[in-house]
Symmetry: C2
Subunit: 384 residues, 2 copies
Amino acid sequence: MKELKEIYLDHASTTPTDPRVLKEMLPYFSEKYGNPEVPHTKGKEALMAIDRARETIAKILNCRDSEIIFTGSATEANNLVIFGLAGASKKGTHIITSTIEHSSVRHPCDKLEEEGWEITRLKADKEGFVSPADLEKAITPQTALVSIMHANNEIGTIQPIEELGEICQKHNIPFHTDSCQTAGTHDLDVKKLKVDALTINGGKIYGPKGVGALYIKRGTPIEPIIYGGNHERGLRAGTHNTPGIIGLAKALELVQKEKDKENKRLSKLRDTMIEGILKNIPASILNGSKEKRLPGNINVTIPGIDAQELLLHLDQKDIYASSGAACTLGKNSPSNTLIAIGIPKKEVFSSIRISLGKQNTASDIEDAIKIMSDVCSKLRKRKP
Amino acid sequence: MKELKEIYLDHASTTPTDPRVLKEMLPYFSEKYGNPEVPHTKGKEALMAIDRARETIAKILNCRDSEIIFTGSATEANNLVIFGLAGASKKGTHIITSTIEHSSVRHPCDKLEEEGWEITRLKADKEGFVSPADLEKAITPQTALVSIMHANNEIGTIQPIEELGEICQKHNIPFHTDSCQTAGTHDLDVKKLKVDALTINGGKIYGPKGVGALYIKRGTPIEPIIYGGNHERGLRAGTHNTPGIIGLAKALELVQKEKDKENKRLSKLRDTMIEGILKNIPASILNGSKEKRLPGNINVTIPGIDAQELLLHLDQKDIYASSGAACTLGKNSPSNTLIAIGIPKKEVFSSIRISLGKQNTASDIEDAIKIMSDVCSKLRKRKP
């Protein structure tokens, strides 16, 4: 008899902490617990570990150590770059972003708009791409910041970041990208990407939750959003989360080292799954780009099926997928990205996101396709 | 031969994570890792654990579960209450605080002052007490918030919070207290304390770093400082740090359960240490109150001694103490509290803070007194 096991297909929402990462973190809870701000041996021990973590990340991003700011989440990092640049900007009160950003970029922009800033939201096309030509046209002498995500969290479309970055460089406008979805799959060299700010997240790359980091290019005017002690060059007050920071660095190091092999493996599983769904579930449609897509992302519309009902049935079979961005599910509102790329609301409510990761095997994918097809077929038959 | 061991006397800066707390956290890294915002079994497992943590804390604070907001640090919680109330206030643009607050309260107030708010900073007396009569006098029809810490992090003086709270209640003004230093030693019943907002911190109560919580009374107008997903009733966006939150709740539960016995034990050690220092180090002076003092706090001025030099010598003997608030040490500026209570600058630079905790034994204290006296005696002899 086949053993019952869970199939976790929601890695874009969050990943388990890699045991190698946790192992690295453990000594910093109860043994090397000093406050890194205090200059005694116990504090310095923690400070040195944080310095090493910062170095590890800076090396991967090809930047200076001092350009890395640790935060309590990627959401905080995105807020810091938007509000922080807005607060310090001498340039103007205009920000360019896109319609398909994560809520942690969209909502700070909304807040600034309420306060009188002008926000241009570039439209993404049907496949989820933001157009460099549109960016070029949107720039004004008042543009203080451009923020476009590296890859979309819902449909997995990978943006032409270098091209967008080049345009920003030409106009001398700080360019931020949210790399939460790409930190485990893509080269993060900020010079090649041509970005001035970049966000990463522990909980999306098999690292701990509750820790993020912002790369911010030296000389970019920015002010803090959290005030207090002089931590992180005065840009983020609050006692350092030593185990979290160490975990973030180790996680990034591991995913970056293993990404080529893992991307290949995941892309193959992803394509098998896409093919399996499109073949076995009649009328199903793939959302996003077929080519420039995150290795683990699958987003499909299954007409006639209520996504929540499908997910519930999958859940009962211990298959865990989701209907979109975890961060907005609480609101029971439809997927922001799918609406933004022009998918009719009815179809949006028939769409699910499957995001593959390290744990998934070929047999998981086979099982998941089969179960999903069976459930959809039953649900469709039941319809009047 | 006596075994070499370290004597950690800096618990006010940060504490080690209690192994019982870490044990509780561990399953939430690599096994129960789901994103609590996603409604599949894996997410719900995490959500339920967070709900239980919230309940545990709410029970101790004698408040509703929905009145607890988890944050990435106590600094963030203090920023949230100050900026959040300021942003939402319909009342006026006046805040009352004290001259001896932690930097995470002082600096947000400074920032608001730059933006046009009026800040009244109540003076603390020689022993570090804020006067209820002064508070009463400072209140105006424009007062939107009063924020006074529960106990001071440098000299350990415990404020008459209930009295201050009563005055605020009478005038219908939200009253916040930073309980980071008291969460392990004091009753945190918010109704008895008469507070509308209260901050706690994992890293000061043998819990994890990188997690804090704000109690905020239902109905208090407040807006977020970090925008994004709909987490924490829309008041703090960012994926929940499940292990951190669970650790915070477990830590608070343990310190609260054990506080009566531990307070008695620590007070005795503290008094032995104070007596030992005053007796063995000529001319040394205790700062703060002798009676209303945190059980683990000792703050002494040793005239003629450079505190940094003394601390370095102690460090070489594996004794770890500090010269004041960890969060401002980076600036090499003198202790804010000691200056605020009127201690001359020269004496401030001759002052050290010793903060005792769970790990310390009577023999540690005996050793520390002896070594401190020897070092001070040598340093004084060396002087020209």
